[in-house]
């Protein structure tokens, strides 16, 4: 059965593997370039004698990082290939060509046929996803925290960090296979998969902030977060900031800025906050929740994959 799975899907798997190899190769080379460029500057303490080559390196790293960011964004679409070219045709092609009658009259039950096919392909998908996660993380680490902020709160990077991509790749395979068994036409199944998967990804991005109720924290001027700077900070995934005056009244950033009467800033500065006794209220997901968010997302993807497997199995053993 493993032989059959490989024989039937080898070209798609090789094609996807080649596509991913190009992606990994690019990311690794970007990571290596960043490490090379930064290693010359890292040892220099202070800002007394920063050689001009270091500025140059910084520019190179900056440009590389921006390009890599765009590539990683498109990297989120790579799992579509698994869903479309392996998942969608998995059963629909057998039904369309009529080869299911050959496959299902051998001495192998449909349940086993399905278990081996989905099992072997899901293992391959998980492996591809896991390597992708590792490569993305390694390459980003090469840029240092100044460029590459934590993936927590970054919609583009979160889904390709840690073990999440392994679950994503398994999920796309099963979405494709389930669509294939329901639609029963290969081309149609591929088209539906192409539409459904981006919607599923978008749904996941919308759902992600709500995996856990956010935490709140009141900070003084010294610990304040510059408004609108970043969604991900060393403290975690920042949802929103607002201000509270000494009497406990809530203020928006503009209202607090007006109180400061600082001609240079419309928003309060740390100095102003301490002067007026304002405090900043931060609504956020603390950084130590990152592993939990990864686990919750993996759990969601795998639970959906499990439900899809049950659906496929039920459809398939119900006889065409």
């Amino acid at each position: 059965m493993i032989w059959l799975t490989w024989r039937q899907h080898r070209w798609q798997l090789i094609g996807i593997g080649a596509l991913l190899a190009v992606y990994w190769g690019y990311l690794l080379s970007a990571g290596v370039r960043a490490r090379d460029a930064l290693s010359g500057c890292a040892s220099l303490g202070g800002d007394a004698h920063v050689p001009p080559s270091c500025f140059e390196a910084s520019n190179t790293v900056d440009a590389t990082f921006n390009t890599m960011g765009e590539v990683v964004m498109f990297g989120n679409l790579l799992p579509l290939a698994m869903g479309m070219f392996v998942g969608a045709p998995l059963i629909s092609r057998e039904l369309e060509l009529g080869t299911y009658r050959l496959a299902f009259t051998q001495s192998v039950s449909r349940a086993r046929w399905l278990a081996v096919k989905l099992g072997a392909l899901a293992a391959a998908a998980a492996l591809l996803g896991a390597v992708t996660g590792a490569v993305v993380s390694w390459s980003r680490a090469g840029f240092g925290s100044m460029f590459a902020a934590a993936p927590f709160g970054d919609d583009v990077v979160f889904s390709q960090s840690g073990a999440v991509p392994a679950a994503t790749w398994v999920f796309v395979l099963l979405v494709g296979a389930a669509i294939g068994v329901l639609v029963r036409r290969t081309t149609m199944a591929m088209a539906v998969t192409l539409v459904v998967l981006p919607l599923a990804f978008a749904g996941l991005i919308l759902l992600r902030p709500h995996y856990m109720p956010p935490a709140e924290r009141l900070v003084d001027g010294g610990d304040m977060i510059q408004d609108g700077v970043s969604r991900n900070d060393s403290r975690g995934w920042i949802f929103s900031t607002s201000y509270v005056d000494s009497s406990g009244r809530k203020l928006t950033a503009d209202a607090a800025g007006a109180l400061c009467q600082d001609p240079a800033n419309t928003w309060p500065t740390a100095e102003c906050m301490d002067r007026l006794g304002l405090r900043q209220r931060i609504v956020y997901q603390p950084a130590d929740r990152y592993p939990w968010f990864q686990l919750i997302e993996i759990g969601l993807l795998l639970a959906a994959s499990g439900a899809l497997t049950v659906t496929i199995r039920r459809q398939l053993t119900r006889y065409p």
Binding site: M1, R7, L97, T99, R101, F104, Q106, V108, R112
Partner: protein
């Protein structure tokens, strides 16, 4: 002794229409059984149900005394081939042999290789590029090399040219003679079946009309031919299957057992063709299942 195939009130519905209904059958082991009937009679449905490719809407099926199931040992007993069964188009003949070997514990690899070598089929050409006759040969070798106890063939000869048809039948009959497997073979070309089959099942409009040993059927059914005006003179209790009037001549197919007919009539043997055609023209006639049961009991 259990039958090869036993159907009890078997029925299959596609949405509102019944493709097969109230089908009760007991097919003996070791026979080559012809399944005939007009298009849409339910032949393919019956074969697909027996192969486990379709699930009955009602009733049940037993193969060799065991209820039909998805267990591998049940699946291993049955092989299925249809003329339009697609082989994986990108698989070469060698790949298809590997497919058969890896998915069937009882696979007879030396036999399959020997067969394909004798058929001089190119082994490295994708199945999609073989001719229809070659594909049918390969499909039949795949079905036979599984060493099934029951072989189901759904119109295996349709759309084959006469040479390919002959080759496929020759391969089939040679293997069946050696192995003693039960074969259930559907076709609408009755003359193809006359030489090779020894049991007849006729189904029509989703119901079984005839099921019996071909020799016995031919022995008990006679064609009575005479002038049209004399139709009234036939014995009233004569079990008539069907009668046709052609100009001034009437011919009546009847189950004759000691009946005597008037001098105006001549009685002669019916061919299998005539027997089948007369039954299929009159769906309300049936020859069921008396001979089946008796024969089976006497055989056990």
């Amino acid at each position: 002794m259990s039958s090869a195939v036993e159907a009890i009130d078997l029925g299959r519905r596609y949405r509102r229409t019944w493709a097969l209904r109230g089908c009760s059958l007991a097919l003996p082991k070791g026979r080559v059984i012809a399944l005939v009937g007009p298009n849409g009679a339910g032949k393919s449905t019956l074969l697909n149900l027996t192969a486990g490719l379709l699930r009955p809407s009602e009733g049940g099926l037993r193969l060799f005394g065991e209820p039909l199931s998805a267990r591998p040992d049940t699946l291993a007993q049955v092989a299925y081939m249809a003329q339009d069964t697609a082989l994986y188009p990108t698989f070469t003949v060698t790949d298809l042999l590997t497919f058969g070997r890896r998915l069937n514990p009882g696979w007879d690899d030396p036999w399959a290789r020997d067969r394909l070598a004798r058929l001089r089929l190119p082994t490295d050409v994708p199945a999609g590029r073989l001719s229809g006759g070659q594909r049918a040969q390969v499909a039949l070798v795949l079905a036979l090399a599984k060493r099934p106890r029951l072989l189901l063939l759904d119109e295996p000869l349709a759309s084959l040219d006469p040479v390919a048809r002959h080759d496929v039948m020759a391969l089939l009959m040679e293997t069946v003679a050696q192995s003693g497997m039960t074969v259930l073979l559907s076709s609408h070309i009755i003359s193809d079946l006359a030489e090779t089959c020894d049991w007849l099942v006729a189904i029509n409009q989703g119901r079984v009309q005839v099921s019996g040993d071909i020799d016995e059927l031919l022995e008990t059914h006679k064609l009575i031919v005479g002038p049209r005006e004399a139709l009234d003179t036939l014995p009233e209790r004569l079990p008539v299957v069907a009668q046709t009037v052609n100009g001034r001549q009437a011919s009546v197919l009847a189950r004759v057992s000691g009946h005597t007919v008037g001098p105006a009539w001549t009685v002669r043997d019916a061919s299998l063709d005539e027997l089948v055609l007369n039954y299929l023209r009159r769906p309300e006639s049936s020859a069921l299942p008396g001979p089946t049961r008796q024969r089976e009991r006497s055989a056990s």
